[in-house]
């Protein structure tokens, strides 16, 4: 259902350039359309101004900072160099990349596996468990974040040296390691992603699975070699949203990552305030913030269709 609606929506929108004006023959409607267009241009301007202002500020010298002009004069490229001259930026970037990478892999793999079961296998208790999945979509995180912290602070960390997950063989518990930020994603920690994947998998013809079964393929092979390759758009949507939420997560790292060398970029950014001693250095903060935002921005520019479709499907939870 969800996928077909989105396709229909996108079909309607193709071929919507200036021809929408030139094809209009009623003068009254033309004026109304022109007014709507201009109003929308103004709204779009308001949405873009903060970003432009951010870029502009990041290139201004301290003397130029209070100048309301959008064009920095002179252009202070050195802000980008200076902003990264303190703090452990290399380390924080690496940490963020590691956490984000494993979150995405874990989320894509586990939610597709679980969704496969809900969408394509029949077993007793399925309807009941799926209703619980849907119910957890509405569950506010606030009831679980404290006991989760307690559980993670009681779970003994493995006594191994594994710097990739901030494990140094001495961690008393999972706190101050990357495990609390990664492991839940390997256990299908997003009801919405399960729902999205299940909707998509139900659209894959059952006959394909039947044929593979007759050929003696195991269920995992059918999932991996037959169904999953046909679900690439849904997998991409889940990967992209997980990438974004993991990259931008603030509360998780704030709770669990306590020593400075384990920070992620979002937490590390906070050190900017103190960089110049006392008052925040806005040019540096904007330069640093832009760099931290950049990866998600690039992914958006490259894959914006998946973002838009994913959001559209998320809105169909109410239908």
């Amino acid at each position: 259902m969800a996928a077909t609606t989105v396709e229909a929506v996108n079909k309607i929108e193709r071929g919507g350039g200036w021809s929408r004006f030139t094809q209009e023959r009623r003068p009254g409607m033309l004026v109304a359309k022109l007014a709507a267009f201009l109003l929308m241009c103004f709204i779009a301007f308001l949405f873009l101004v903060p970003l432009v202002w951010m870029i502009s500020t990041s290139l201004k010298t301290p003397q130029d900072l209070q100048n309301p002009s959008f064009i920095p004069n002179p252009i202070a490229w050195e802000n980008y160099r200076d902003a990264f001259s303190f703090g452990m930026w290399g380390r924080w970037t690496l940490n963020t990349v590691i956490i984000t990478f494993f979150s995405v892999v874990g989320m894509v793999f586990s939610t597709s596996l679980v969704a496969y079961s809900f969408a394509r296998l029949r077993w007793p208790g399925r309807a009941f468990l799926f209703s619980i999945v849907l119910a957890t979509m509405m569950l506010p995180d606030v009831v679980t974040f404290i006991p989760r912290f307690i559980i993670f602070s009681e779970l003994p960390a493995p006594r191994v040296n594994f710097p990739l997950f901030a494990l140094d063989g001495n961690n008393a518990s999972w706190v101050n390691t990357f495990l609390p930020l990664i492991v839940p994603d390997f256990l299908a920690g997003s009801a919405f992603n399960i729902f999205l994947m299940r909707q998509f998998m139900r659209g894959v013809p059952m006959e394909l699975s039947e044929a593979a079964r007759i050929d003696g393929a195991s269920e995992f092979r059918i999932y991996w070699n037959v169904v999953l390759p046909l679900c690439k758009p849904a997998l991409a949507t889940i990967a992209i949203f997980t990438f974004q939420s993991s990259w931008q997560d603030f509360m998780g790292p704030l709770l669990y990552l306590q020593s400075e060398q384990n920070y992620t970029l979002q937490i590390g950014l906070r050190t900017f305030e103190f960089a110049a001693g006392g008052a925040p250095n806005w040019s540096w903060m904007m330069a640093g913030s832009l760099i931290v935002m950049l990866p998600v921005l690039i992914v958006f520019v490259l894959f914006q269709q998946y973002f838009i479709e994913g959001i559209q499907i998320s809105g169909m939870g109410g239908r």
Partner: protein, 333 residues
Amino acid sequence: MAESAQSQDVVQRRPQSAARTGLRLNNSTREAVNGWLFVMPWVIGFALFTAIPMVFSFYTSFTNYNLIRSPQWVGTRHYENIFTNDPYFWKSLENTFWMVGIRVPIVMTLALAIAILLNTKIPYERVFRTIVYLPNVLAGAAAVYLWQWILSPTGLLNQALEGVGIDGPSWFTNPNWTKPALVVMGLWWIGGNIIIYLAAIKGVPQTLYEAASIDGASPWHKLRYITLPMISPTIFFQVITSIIGTFQIFTTAYIIITTGGLSPAEGGPGRSLLFYVIYLYNRAFGKVGSSRGFDMGYASALAWILFVIILAITLFQLWLSKRWVYYESGEGG
């Protein structure tokens, strides 16, 4: 959420291929075993990170627990203290309800209005759609800094207001303006809501509008009697998720409060940004007044109170929705 798991199943008979497998299981048993195996990651995750934590947190809310010593039973004392003797609780509740009451209606109305505008077949609709969604990918701490800069006393917004003769307030230092500042900031991220509304509006069957045109209906009447009723399930869903989200506002407020190295304990100027989850965080991990944090029992009690409030409001909305949400019959999976 009209979906149900069993709705679309077709019972399929397959030729016996048990001989090919080593196991002597019939097909439906094997399918059931596989089904449970495949769903295991979620079952374990749900038990470990949702079900057990909820039960544990309910128990903890009746104890004194600071992570070091084992929990000590104190009965309903935390709940009594919260309701009778805790000014922070009432202040945080007041701030949070303010945000829900002001922010949600503004966001919903504006998002719907822009979606309707985008649907008037204007040129470059897709470009506009991308632009309004763009800020949603620019979230996190970095975006909060950007807005602190824009809303600083001599920042971009106040300069623009000065241009039209308005003396802008000092947004983040005047207790009366901190919450409006958050509302203004939040408007930058309504792109997701706009996209969802737009998709819903485009899903309304064109034939309804054509029939109305023949009857001579005005654009306003089409909006009021066709579009709005037809997208009411989407409006309902968005209002619910938006309310739940606003009740749990944390990151933005936390970053603003702690700017300049301040402790989150006081909750910003005049406690005006002491939202419920900020207060909860302070009880659990930070400081409140003279008491040291790690008050997990008290914090758990706070969490359950918020949970009950959110649940009650959601159920009330659900009840209310019967009066205004229109579900097309026959719509299923």
